[in-house]
Symmetry: C2
Subunit: 294 residues, 2 copies
């Protein structure tokens, strides 16, 4: 019988811990963590995500400020705003909600954020420091998965780990983190992608599988060995007649088929997703405490 990795429950625990820590800081008269978010334009999904992030902050006592601009904001004005926030000692963390309008270079924007406030962990300095093994802000999804591995005390040492997907924010950083010389790590990691031959065979050899390719129900039971640990990073929204909203979320794993073979598995929704949200809170707390960059 498989064990469900209850991301939602763990995320609530982590939030309670963060809330306690912020409360302790407040009592001692310390600096209350403060996250700034920049949102450009009125993309519906982006507005929702930013609202969630603000709500998460308020739940744990982290201050948050939203800078919301119309989508005709010039790149120069956005960069100037970022520089202002970089200099503002009141603000500990800064995220710029992506995607940005086409006339603005996302990469230029990311590189303008002070790495010490880059709580999304997207700045090359943070990516590079992570790879080298130096303290760094880890991006949300890899951080969330590592936290789940720790909380469920999943053994990774010497384990065969297959990551499906080579994105900059999930597959690549997670492959480095899981093969690094400390726990959770020391796994033998293989990164699979669209050009991989015999993906099923490779996956079937894995003790730990991370499905992060963004293709609904891609991972089937014949691609998973008995007793594997399965993390599902995918979120695809599909129409449904069985929900009030008229849609439901499905992952990259065909859960009903795969779960009976797994030892541990994350559901979608309620698995990796909620953990990515708390990762941002955790990074903001680290930023306020100046634990990564002093």
């Amino acid at each position: 019988m498989y064990k469900l990795i209850e991301g939602k429950k763990i995320a609530d625990q982590v939030k309670a811990e963060i809330k306690q820590e912020v409360s302790d800081i407040r009592e001692k008269g310390g600096k209350i963590p403060h996250l700034a978010a920049i949102l450009v334009g009125h993309d519906g999904a982006s507005e929702t995500y930013v609202a969630y992030k603000q709500k998460d902050c308020s739940q744990v006592g982290i201050e948050s400020t939203l800078f919301h601009y119309e989508d005709d904001l010039s790149e120069a004005d956005l960069l100037a705003k970022i520089e202002e926030i970089n200099r503002n000692e009141e603000i500990d963390g800064l995220i710029v909600q992506l995607p940005l309008p086409e006339h603005i270079s996302e990469q230029k924007v990311i590189e303008h954020i002070n790495p010490g406030k880059d709580v999304d962990g997207f700045h090359p300095v943070n990516v590079g420091r992570m790879v080298i093994g130096l303290p760094a802000y880890i991006s949300a999804t890899p951080a969330g998965i590592l936290e789940l591995i720790k909380r469920y005390k999943i053994d990774t040492v010497g384990k065969t780990c297959v990551i499906i997907g080579r994105s900059n924010i999930v597959g690549k950083p997670l492959s480095i983190l899981l093969s690094q010389k400390k726990y959770p790590g020391n796994a033998t990691v293989t990164v699979c992608h669209s050009r991989t031959k015999d993906l099923a065979l490779t996956a079937r050899n894995a003790d730990i599988i991370v499905a992060a390719l963004g293709q609904a129900e891609f991972l089937k039971s014949d691609m998973v060995k008995e007793g594997a640990v399965v993390f599902d990073v995918g979120i695809t929204r599909v129409p449904s007649e069985n929900t009030k909203s008229g849609w439901k979320l499905i992952g990259d794993v065909k859960f009903d088929e795969v779960a009976p073979k797994a030892s541990f598995i994350t559901p979608v929704p309620g698995g990796v997703g909620p953990m990515t949200r708390v990762a941002l809170l955790k990074n903001t707390l680290l930023a306020a405490k100046k634990e990564i960059y002093s």
Copy 2:
């Protein structure tokens, strides 16, 4: 019959190309590339390496300057020197020969170098940009191996690649580069290390093997499949009665056993080694042309 990957010959070709390009720049009255090297103390190996690098520069017409200090140089003075070179527009590339005396933080020194002059590719900004897929200075050994793959037109797409060793300057960056979405890349890469179980089995499954663990003659014939491409990054100096110098270099691959099974294989010496030396020249040329950072 295997094909020997003649690193020395290719390195000479690349040097001839660089020499031609520098000569063209000179004729057009352009900026002659200029490499600065900082050496602290009198470690024999370090002195030799720096001398090689200067000789390589002079052979291709790249200017070089050596800043040589006694090993009682303070960290603050070294950092000040680096800042001076960072500001010096005459100098395009800067390397600090490692190791440094114990009282100096190597990481602090590396992070002090302007990423635009960091032709060793060790600065977190360059590592991060490489991972993200942005233009960056790639460190010498991965760059040398990629160049050999290109020159020998070795197919990497969809190939199974096993890298043995997870160092910051070889295994980790090479794993990212060989799985990236362009040639040479698109391979399915597995990183093996000291905690890997069944390393022989994993290696035996690989179309391409990179041995970079620093253990003499580690890779034996029973760890290699018929037709594999083998890159040997190891260099161990052992005593020998058959050479004038009294020692010889051996690699991480038991060459005599493995070569007959390989389709392509690098020898030691004369394989990957010479390519790492030209990688530095190439990065210095890129720096002078401001191709990575404008």
